[in-house]
Structures are given as structure tokens and as C-alpha cells.
Amino acid sequence: MSQKNHIGESVTHIDAWDKVTGSAVYCGDMSFLHQLYGAVYRSPFSHAKIITIDLAEVWKTPGVKAVVTGEDFPRLYGQYVVDQPFLAFGKVRFKGEPVVAIAADTPESAAEAVKKVHAVFEELPAVLDVYEAVAEGAPLVHDDWSKYSVADFIRPEPGTNICDHFQLSKGDMDAGFREADVIDEGEFSTPMIQHVTIETHCAIAQCLNDGTVNVWSPCQSPFAMRDQLAAALKLPLRKVRVIASSIGGAFGGKNEMRVEPIVIALAMKVPGKHVKLVFTREEEFLSSVVRGESSVKVKLGAKNDGTLTAVKVETYLDTGAYATTGPRVNFIAGFASSGPYVVPNIKVDGYCVSTTRQIGSSFRGFGVSEIAWAYESQMDCLAKRLKMDPLDLRMKNAVEDGSISATGERLFSVSAKQCLQAVADAIDWKNRDPVITPEGKIRTKGIATFMKPTGTPSNSSAVVRLNDDGTVNVMIGGMEMGQSMTTVIAQMVAHELGISMDSVEMTPVDTEYCPFEKHSSASRLTFHIGNAAVRAAKDVMEQLRRLAAIAWNVDPRAIKAGRGELTGPGGQSVTLPELRKASILRDQDPVIGKGAYSTSDIYVPLDPVTRQSARPMIYWMWGAQAVEIEVDPETGKIQVLKVAAAHDVGRAINPVACYQQIEGAVSMGVGHALIEEMIFDGGDILNANMVDYKVPTIADIPLETQVILIENGHPEGPYGAKGIGEPGIIPTVPAIGNALCEAIGERIHRLPMKPEKVLEALKKRSEHCHAPTI
């Protein structure tokens, strides 16, 4: 029992009991005595100067206790570019931007007071499209990038709306295209979409007269939030406390401060009082964050036998009014732009573009989804030109151990081909000729793959506090958001200490007492916190060895320390579950295991121009998916019959948790492929609600999702594990697009692949076919 192997066990999520009983506490479920309720007056324009704001009537509204504008509180924040005001001042940069915040005794009073704000604006020309934004003479969203503090990997172009220009070059692209027998190019785009977490953004803030700022929030990265707040408020880190609640879905959308700056600005006006604000669903669409539109141009060059000779990629990502994680998304997308293929000559230009639109930020996949939609679609176009099987073309070019990546790294622990082969087998790729069903529907198959990096360098830490009864409290700073990370970390600690899962308590995250964590993003927590937690558990065993030596009066070196077990030279032994009986802890130094992990030692800084590096990333994630779909040529509707998804998780610490991540990501990918988009008329969102912005219901998801876990252990991962939070969403979309092209003979270049677009494509095709020959 004490030596139970927890690694590879599908342990039930440790927080699932709370979630099925309704006792899990999300931020919206919290309240404080005499708390105030916030509400926001938002910009009615996409781009305008703020001339005056008249608050006289607001103050007359019964119950109003605090009112704050950007002029009162002209501070900026930002993870990578410090460009975003707590509340707009000077001008507004998107429709829905917070301009005035109000706190009142009741939510109704606060909402009533918002109606009484009289603000006068002078409208400026809006910038609603990335290509308009980069055109000569476009109105500037931000006048001068040099006024902002900008992270060192970002390259803004002065005097333009280009917030970051990512460049990557390898070999000689022109020579590569000259060498090619076939050159094929295309442009693929994605609309603005939203995370649509079922829990909207929410926060509660309390500011004390001594400068303390307390924030309760369902944030993905509490320490990143603390750091941004402390910088913006010019406070020492110790004075900002972020207390994380349960998170009702994040997917990258809760990686940014959205409600927090508003409630903090209010709370500073009423020291001691708690101010709470929960975004409505409409506010969620208007002014949380989105995945901005993207346009990706891909040009591929290949020999007649399919060997790729050159790839050129030009990407435009709409980051909206403020940079947030946009430049980092651009960076990661740029890294992954040429796909999991051996390409000797590559050039990538990625433009992260500011517009006067909703804020484009991180979304599960972090740019790689948009990139893979483009290059994997283009790979199928190339296969058609070469009259090659799309799988053969991919297998011919796919990277393997020892291949050199686009960024110059000699790759290892690669599974691209293994994943492709696994899904090809699972979908019966050999029998993939289109089939017409008796109802007249067309059944086809499609395939796609990708490679995605995590984030590097970064750091994590863990503390394992041993109790006298052999149970432990584990403190980490990364967030559980449904991915079962806390369960996985508990499994690792239980495994190292030879104790049961019931003996491990994961402490809720609070920046006041939990150890530092950089970010809960990039599918990095199992790997990074895992490494830290294993070290912390080993540290517990080392400290126990010393205490046992004292108790047994022997040399510590003579004691063998195994997983949760100490054996002395005279046959003495103790296990953690029996710790109390052994009494080696009595009146001794309390045992607090500490583990830290960073990737700064393996990281080789990138060449600033070519982005080449011997080791730019601690690990890559590999996977492939193959789909079978059915297209109804009468209605244009696509039904996804089956998705086979093979992903390399390194080591499945908790196999069910891996399945859950992939299955959920696939269903989200189906939504992105077929139904999801924010629809605009100018700067107005026409579907800022869940009636008109559809996300997949059970009726939309694949009839079957077959997940294949590939366990190609990573030498530096805990027990070999890699990450799996994001990758499942990446290949779903291009695989469906490729199957659709097989079915209708036309390619749709812009998502989502809605029935009307399918019908239009079919019409186009029949016009081609029936065109009279002259």
C-alpha cells in the first residue's frame, strides 16, 4: 500500500467531489459583509478622444459610494507592453472599453448610475482590419511605442500599428524556391472568436490604507497578476495579494487582468471596503479578451518527389486595442510556422497588429492553431499539385529525432511520424476514397499534424509541508482550471513519498504564502511544477533521513531513503504512513520540503534577427488528427463522424486526465472549424450573447473521438511527461478543412466552415464544371 505506484493511474480529480456537490467556491460565489458592487460605463465608440465626463447625476444616484475615471487614475499595465489603462484616459481604443467605474451598495444602484454618466467624445477614424491597420497613413491606435515599456523580445515598428514584427530566417529562402519543382501558395484566415468560459470574468478587490491591495479572482496566473499590479501601482510585491478562486473555465481567457483593474481602481476610493464585479455575458464578449482575427499567407516549395525545399510564411494577427499577450502569441506562432517538417530554407514574418477592436490575447493553442490551419491546409494543396497522398507527403517531410528545427535546434523526443501513422491506422486512411451515402451525403477523410512549443525560459516552485501523521500539504502557485493539474501534482508527490492520494492536500493558491509560479499557460504545469514538486518531495525524504539518523543514532549516510521509506543499518525502518508511530519527528526540526525548477540553464538565447538557437525550448508537443466527415450537399452542413487524435504526452501521469484534455480540445476545435465567430457591423458586435454566438452543444460534437496516447518520454520531464492542455485543439480544424476539400473539391480559406460557405463553394465548383469550353 505504501509503495503504491501513483504514476500512470487514472485517479479521479481531487476537486471533482466539490464540483458535483456544488460546494466548489468560484469567485462569483464569494461575498463579504457590506461589500460594494461595481458597474462600468463603456466606450460607445471604437476610437475617440474623451472630451469631458460629467458625473454630477451619477453622484445623485442613491447608493453610489465611489466613482472613478481614467483621469483620476492614469496608470498603465501590461504583461509585455505596458500600454493599457485601468480605465481609459485621453482616448478610447475600442467599443466597450471601460471609461467610468462606479461602486454602489447594490448591483441595481450601480447599474442605474452607469446610465447617468454624460460623456462627450470626439470620434476618431476607427481601424477595424489588420490590413487597413498596416496600410500607409493608417490612423495610429497608439501614437508612440517608445513611450511604453516593452519586453525585450518584442519589435514594435515606430510610427505604425505594428506592435511586434517577428522575423525568423533559416537557410536561403530564394534559393530554396529556385530549387523547387512546384511552388504552391495560399492565404488562410480566422475570425475573431471568444473563449466563452461558462463562468464570466469576476473579481473582488479590497485596498487598505497601509497600501495593501487584496484581490480575489479566478485568474490563471496569480503571480503574473501580482507582478503587473505591483508595477502599475508602484507597490512592493509583498503588498499585493492575489487570492485565487476556483476557475470556471479559462482556455487562455483568464490570463489577463480584466475585471481586476476596475475593482481595484474603485476599491482605492473606499479603503477597507470590498468591491465586487461580475461581467455579464455581453461584457464578456465586449471587453474581456478574444482570439483576434488572423491572416496567414503560406508559400511552399517542393521537389517533384515531395521534398520540401522552402517555406515562406507571412502572418497578421489582430491584437486589438492593447497588446496583452499578442506579441508573445506572435512569437510562438512564428516559432511553429513551418510545421513539423524538415525545411532547409525558411522565412517567417509575423506581424502583431494593433486595431481599435476587442483585445486579442491568449487562447488555447497560442497562435499555433491559426498557423496550423494555414500550413496544414496548404500541405494538402501541395499534395494535390504533386498528385501525392497527403499522408505520404507529410511522412516524407516530417521531423524526427536528430532533425534540425526551423529555429536551428537538433530535435529529440520527436513523435510526429508516430502520431501521423497512429491516426492514419485509426481512421483506416488506406480506404479513404469519398463515399456517397444512400442519402446522398459525401463521406471523406482528412488529416493534419503540428508541432507546438511550450514557453521557455520559465520557472516554477513547490513546497511540501510534512505533518506529523505522514500527510502533506502541497503549496504551488499554478492554477487548476479543470485540466486536473493539482491531481497530477498530488499523484507525483504521493508517489515520491509512498503515501496515498488521501494523504495529500493541495493548498488553494494565494500569492501571500504560496511559492512563485510564472504562468499557468503553454501546457507547462505538469512538466514544470511537476519537476519542482518531485524535487520538493525528495527534499522531504532527505530531511527525514537526517532526523532518522538522530533518532536511531546512526550516520545519515548509512540510512537508505527510498520512496517514502527509510531503512537503517540495524534493520530500523519507517514509512511515511507510520511516521507518527516512529516518532522521529518529535520535537525535531519541522520538515518542509522545497523544490524549484527553471529552464534558464538549458535555454540558449535566440539570435535576434534569425531566431536561431541551439535550445530555444525545453520541449515541443507533437500530435496528429485524422477525421471522417459527412457533408450534406443539399444543406451544406458538415457532420464530423469521427476524430482520431494521437498526441505525445511523454508519460501519461493520469491517463483519463489526458483523454479529457484531448477530447475537450477536439470538441472546441470542431466549434472553431464549423460554427464560432464574432460577427461585426463596423465596430459593433452583432452576436455578443450565447444565443447568437454558438459554441458546440452535444449535437455538434463528433459522434466518436478516439484518443491515442503516445508516451515518448522526455528526458527532462517528470517521469517523462510533456504537456497536453492545448495541443488537442490544433489539428482538428485543418483536418476537417482537408476532408471538406476532398468532399466538395473546393477549399474554404476562412473559418468557420458554415453551411452557407459550403453551399457557395459547391456552387462555384458546379459553375467551373459546367463552364462552356470555347
Binding site: 479521479t12 476537486d15 456537490t21 456544488g22 466563452v196 486526465a657 479529457q660 477530447e663 459554441v695 452543444t697
Partner: protein, 158 residues
């Protein structure tokens, strides 16, 4: 605002209260009774997170007025456990790995309970129909369907 007096059963207990006539059932459940298991996701009856049972049938409590609950029997997720034990649906959700972020789960459980009240042994198709109004952004639904199926197979009280 006009005040109205309500009388209803909530998770088996008789309740009386006076509320403004415009408040929703969801508001009463959360703010008056402090039962925070029932969630608001969209405020317009579209996501299903606020689903509770009224006389054993699922309703979206964010769009029905508290007044409509008068003299009815309301059950929320907090009412599912019996004698400190999970009911068979809750247990099946754990066993089948149907829970991720958990925010949709109370509503999902209530829709499932409503379905089983009406149809104790639903087919997979009937299960899918039964939870069509509940959005889950994390799981991809199949494990939820499996859990409901498993619960419907289990003997014992509901």
C-alpha cells in the same frame, strides 16, 4: 417594486419568503438561501448552468421569476446528496471523469436528474437530447453521456 410572498419547497424543506416581484428564481436560490451551487452563465437561459428541478423537471432558473416557483417543489444540486452520500449520478460523474472546470456541472447534473426522473433508462440518443441545453466548454460531452448512462444502469435509489 411590488413585493410578493412565496411559499415553496426547496431541497425538501418548506420555505416562505417575501421578495420583489421582478427577481429570478436563480437570484432567490443564491442570494436568499445562499445555495451557491447553482450558477449563472449567460443570464438568458441559453447555457443551462442555472438548471434546477421544478417538480422534478429541469428549468433554467435565470430566466424564470421566483414567483413562478410559488407552491412548487424546487431542487438544486445541493439537494442531490442523501445521508451524506453522493447520489448515483454524482458518483457516476466522478467515476467516468465527466468533470473538468466544474462550472456547468451542477446544471448538467440537474438536467440529467430531470431526465432520469422521467425516463429511468434512457438510450444514448435520449441522453444526448436531455442535455442538449447544457453547454460544457471543457469535456466534449461524451464522458458526461457515459456517466448518465452508467447512473441509469445502477440499481438503488435515485
Amino acid at each position: 417594486m411590488k413585493e410578493i410572498e412565496l411559499r415553496f419547497r426547496l431541497n425538501g424543506e418548506e420555505q416562505r419568503l417575501t421578495v420583489p416581484s421582478n427577481v429570478t428564481l436563480l437570484h432567490v436560490i443564491r442570494e436568499h438561501f445562499g445555495l451557491m451551487g447553482t450558477k449563472e452563465g449567460c443570464g438568458e437561459g441559453e447555457c443551462g448552468a442555472c438548471t434546477v428541478l421544478m417538480d422534478g423537471r429541469p428549468v433554467t432558473s435565470c430566466i424564470i421569476l421566483a414567483e413562478e416557483a410559488d407552491r412548487h417543489d424546487i431542487m438544486t444540486v445541493e439537494g442531490l446528496m442523501k445521508d451524506g452520500k453522493l447520489n448515483r449520478l454524482q458518483q457516476a460523474f466522478l467515476d467516468e471523469g465527466a468533470v473538468q472546470c466544474g462550472y456547468c456541472i451542477p446544471g448538467m447534473l440537474m438536467s440529467a436528474q430531470g431526465l432520469l426522473n422521467e425516463n429511468p433508462h434512457p438510450t444514448s440518443q435520449e441522453i444526448r437530447k436531455g442535455i442538449e441545453g447544457n453547454i460544457c466548454r471543457c469535456t466534449g460531452y461524451n464522458r458526461i453521456v457515459n456517466a448518465i448512462h452508467k447512473a441509469s444502469q445502477d440499481e438503488g435509489d435515485s
